[in-house]
């Protein structure tokens, strides 16, 4: 197992993201329905599917695929997800610029950039019951695992677990931004939809990277 993957062959990661989102379309909307307006899965699926149609064959490099996804979300999707995930993926792509291989160092930077990008455009804080609450603990967990000597694959596993824990922790949070925030205390007790899709995305990335490292 190598500890990195070739960026130019990894555009398929974005295809896997699209598949994961489409497979969970109904579930994501259902979660959003509890305290939001019930369209999160639809929004995500529409945006990701549209991006998929633009990826082309053969697949572009990972940064190009991520930028296509980002641009499609920002330009065509709208909603909150367009800007938020649009910035998330373009921020990730920016960190791949000039790189040939995606290793743990680069991935750590991608995660930090993603977190900063979403935070900037959305002006939400960690703890506000948003996708940041999956993204932030995942970012921190990856950093710490890697720094503490785990290898890339192990660090990805640690990150996946942290994203899931972060996602689940949103159950106990009160929403401070977005539609759900108007619910106040009534927003407690259920998952946040954005944190759920974010966790799904991070886990799909992690799984895809690991598979490519084995291959």
């Amino acid at each position: 197992m190598t500890a990195s993957i070739a960026i130019k062959d990894a555009g398929g990661l974005v295809v896997e993201l699209i598949e994961a989102i489409n497979a969970n379309r109904g579930w994501l909307s259902e979660i959003d329905g509890a305290i939001g307006d019930g369209d999160h899965g639809i929004n995500m699926s529409k945006g990701f599917t549209a991006a998929g149609a633009k990826l082309g064959d053969p697949l572009p490099s990972l940064p190009d695929a991520l930028n296509t996804l980002s641009e499609t979300l920002i330009e065509d999707l709208g909603g909150s997800m367009g800007p938020l995930y649009g910035y998330l993926f373009s921020s990730m792509a920016d960190e791949l610029e000039g790189q040939e291989r995606l290793d743990a160092e680069v991935f750590a930077k991608m995660m930090h950039a993603a977190f900063e990008g979403v935070k900037e455009i959305g002006s939400a804080d960690v703890g506000d019951k948003t996708l940041l609450d999956a993204l932030y603990p995942a970012t921190e967990a990856f950093d710490e695992a890697w720094r503490s000597g785990k290898d890339f694959a192990e660090s990805l596993d640690t990150m996946s677990a942290a994203a899931e824990k972060g996602r689940d922790a949103t159950v106990d949070m009160v929403a401070k931004v977005g539609r759900a925030s108007r619910l106040g205390e009534r927003s407690r007790g259920v998952l946040d939809a954005g944190a759920t899709s974010c966790c799904l995305i991070l886990q799909t990335l992690a799984k895809g990277i690991k598979q490519r490292m084995q291959g």
């Binding site: 909307s29 329905g33 307006d37 019930g38 369209d39 639809i42 929004n43 529409k46 920002i74 330009e75 065509d76 999707l77 709208g78 909603g79 909150s80 997800m81 367009g82 800007p83 938020l84 455009i121 959305g122 931004v177 977005g178 539609r179 108007r182 619910l183 009534r186």
Partner: protein
Amino acid sequence: MNRIFNNPDFVVEDAVRGYLKAHPDILAATENARVLRRPLAPQKDKVGIVTGGGSGHEPAFLGYVGDGMVDAVAVGEIFSSPSAKAFHDAFVAADGGRGVACLYGNYAGDNMNVKLAVKQAAKHDLTVKTVVANDDVPSAPKDEIKKRRGVAGEILMWKVGGARADEGADLDEVIASAQKAIDATRSIGIGLSPCTIPAVGKPNFSIEDGHMEVGIGHHGEPGVAVMPIKPANEIADLMLDHILPDLPFEKDDDVALLVSGLGATPIMELYILYDRLAEVLQARGMNTRHLFIGNYFTSLEMQGVTLTMMRLDSELDRLLSAPARSLGLTRI
């Protein structure tokens, strides 16, 4: 779900096509399928008026494109902000060389997309200034007024902004009048039944039979209280109790009143409600100078009603009286 559509993922596309075929005198296409404009836009030397928002609120938003109203509109998915690109392209479609006033509602998605679009426009030397409507009283307390949602008050803001632009005002003047309009406006919604986004296929929330939700948002955002339905007169009183003290509206105020159904409320019920509203406002010595009753800002097939009031000064009164011609609002 018993509804009329083809592919549930393309209801907006299909409806926009229908609008364009139906009203070529009022709505024109642009290169961006999610941006419509007045046939006369961009109008040289007039400040352009742009708005945009999620679909499912018809006649908002595209129904307020027209003479004396909005020059170009960005059209979003159902209950979802238009994309940054759509807002940007609407700015371009509306710009007659004196800048663009983007008058929209306070929702997270719209805020983000407008922000990106304004940045983008600035790169091409297109000046866009914004006013964000926050007229929905129950959506946040008064000390957090900037957090409040924008609802049907937006219509009055567009009317004011559009009329001011027609007078030849510059961008700062248009923005000032639109801001004044929304600052003088308060709204509240009462929800009686949920609605179903075709692509979702089931109601977006639920209200127990025989109950109403006070302060509900245009997408079913929860209100401040759920209670057994009261008689119409008490509903009217309750709505006024929320909005009158908030501005506050007072004796001898000239006001504009807009009573909008949320989509599935029979029109006669809006008039039953108005009967009481008129009685109370008269008793309190207020003077209703502009009145709009109907389905002005809807939420698909939701049952319920919104009440919007604006306190007028002579400028707002003049601008509301100015001629306008759009699908949703016409003044001769």
